[in-house]
Symmetry: C2
């Protein structure tokens, strides 16, 4: 028996790299770019970006904020780092200091700012809106641009709303709109429409650059079929205590679980403070391996900040110090997200930012 | 008009300190301890703990993991830092290096580990179970301890399940159980039963030490009455773009919002990657101040990782670069948690861990 207290977060860089390379093959005529915004979805941009730079010769990266690009730029000397949230007064200094950063301009107002604060040797990307109704120039905004304005840009991009649903009407609609606007306003520019979900929609959606994010991190962005991606994130946490739970007793905050028969419970050293969704309370699953057998056990009661409680009545032979498998190849963050009523992107982003884990990069 | 891109997280240390001092007054006969686990609920233990140490002479702190205590110990030379998840093989070295750390022993197995790995000049705390059915010695575990075992400890603690519901039967039940077990097994030890929710349950619940966490951070741990605490967390994010949304158009991923009339939308530079709950999609509220008037606007469509979209049709005069108020004194994280179907503890813990914010400590 071991006495352990800390959860473990394992990030499989071999699988991440394999995912990137598979996506490259699916879109062979497009330049691949790696999306490492939000600290590489929490998995560590300072590790992920240099890995792709060195092992996969990736030279194009996307971040959300300039400050995110600044933190990794030294390790990517020959790369272009596109900044999706663009440029403004609160990050102009960062753009000035870091020559790899290329702003993505998404509004007429931001374009005016750019024209008053141009950076030498850099041509921004223009983001155009094609149906997501999020960031980007609408057609009426494009109409107001002069020929000189239109020549300021180095690439035109847009973003799909429903790329994860193969037959959604929005995909064809956005593709058509993108093609029309590009032909009218930017006939000579390279173009980028798809993130990793769009890669699976076929060559028409690939254009000149594909932006590889979620699928690279193992998320199934084509959930209408089995995931082609390898799993990247594994989480386990030790059992701190195993105790009987007599019939009639309550479990956890606000006493939301009551034992209707004598049960056995395990207290596991991980909670929502470690990035797990608290909505797994009373519905989540954790797994135990005892003498070669895998047991699926239910989370009972409310999840706490530092602990969760699960029903291990059926997991005979389980001992203090054994690991609860929270996410693994057989129960991925996509599976957890289904149980929690959200998407794995959200969970990954939270898990990865926690500094209490023993963090292990596999294949570094 | 300003062009801005980054969200701003403001942590009001004046209010945090005032909250701590008010809680001290409500429990005048108990020693106050500050709970700074999970990086001070994400607000920065390296700032919060030294503040309380210096400005409020706090000398007792609680963390979840030894590694969390290690990160702040240098700044708290004369303090005791209690480690709730206890001691084990994966953190023994940290306990050996950091003399301020005191393990909280919650199981017979962990106690055996302690006896094989005692640390000089340190007496652990024993955690006993009184109704939460989480960590702690059950009565059958206590019965198995020898007199010598019982003399190993310096304090006895337990934790309330329903301290945020004043008249919940569990409070009286846990108090009675705690009193009985303490009298039998630890008649001479100081005792701690209550976190900040228990502070509001009256003097019987205070014992010798109260553990001040959530309420200190401004969370209402006594939601059966108006919050006595000052708000600590404020979040705002700039408007990147304002555009018309014609009738019939869809908004956001998976096109979950459709405009039933011509609307005006704003794209705000903050999303679930910044720690906001994605469950605010189509239900959350954000606020704008235009010429002295406060506008409450609905989040529409799915929240993205880096952006949210809201309906600003009624917010006349709103401009790009204006701030959306995401959390503030008039709409706290408690209010947001109600809208998101969770508790503010979870949101605070996620927001505070993000490094994309411009982070400002007020009153430092």
């Amino acid at each position: 028996m071991s006495i352990l207290t800390r959860p473990i977060l394992e990030i499989d860089l071999n699988n991440l790299l394999a995912n990137y390379q598979l996506l490259e093959k699916i879109a062979p005529h497009a330049t691949p770019a790696a999306v490492v915004k939000d600290d590489a979805y929490g998995l560590g941009a300072a590790v992920v970006a240099p890995l792709l730079y060195e092992k996969a010769q990736c030279r194009n990266f996307f971040v959300a904020h300039a400050v995110e690009g600044q933190r990794i730029a030294d390790k990517l000397p020959q790369a272009k780092i596109y900044v999706l949230q663009g440029i403004g007064e609160d990050c102009l200094d960062i753009f000035q200091q870091v020559p790899q950063l290329i702003p993505v301009i998404s509004s007429p107002e931001m374009f005016e700012f750019w024209k008053s604060n141009r950076l030498p040797n850099r041509k921004p990307v223009i983001h155009i809106e094609t149906g997501l109704n999020r960031l980007g120039f609408r057609e009426h905004d494009l109409k107001a641009l002069s020929d000189a304005d239109l020549s300021e840009f180095s690439m035109v991009m847009s973003h799909l709303a429903c790329g994860d649903e193969k037959d959604h009407f929005m995909n064809a609609h956005q593709l058509e709109t993108f093609e029309q606007l590009k032909n009218i306003y930017f006939p000579d520019l390279p173009a980028s429409l798809s993130a990793s979900d769009g890669v699976f929609l076929g060559e028409k959606f690939h254009w000149n650059m594909v932006r590889l994010g979620a699928a690279m991190y193992g998320i199934n962005t084509a959930p209408y079929r089995l995931n082609q991606m390898q799993n990247v994130v594994r989480i386990k946490a030790p059992v701190l205590q195993i105790e009987p739970l007599p019939k009639g007793e309550f479990v956890g905050y606000s006493a939301t679980y009551r034992a209707s028969s004598d049960r056995k419970i395990a207290i596991v050293s991980i909670g929502y403070g470690d990035g797990l969704p608290r909505s797994l309370s009373n519905v989540g699953k954790v797994y135990f391996k005892v003498r070669g057998k895998l047991h699926e056990c239910r989370v009972i009661g409310r999840m706490s900040m530092d602990n969760l409680i699960c029903d291990v009545t059926e997991a005979e032979g389980l001992e203090v110090g054994d690991f609860a498998y929270i996410a693994d190849d057989f129960y991925t963050l996509d599976d957890m997200a289904r149980d929690a009523g959200t998407i794995s992107y959200e969970i990954m982003s939270r898990v990865g930012k926690n500094t209490r884990y023993i963090r292990k990069y596999i294949g570094q």
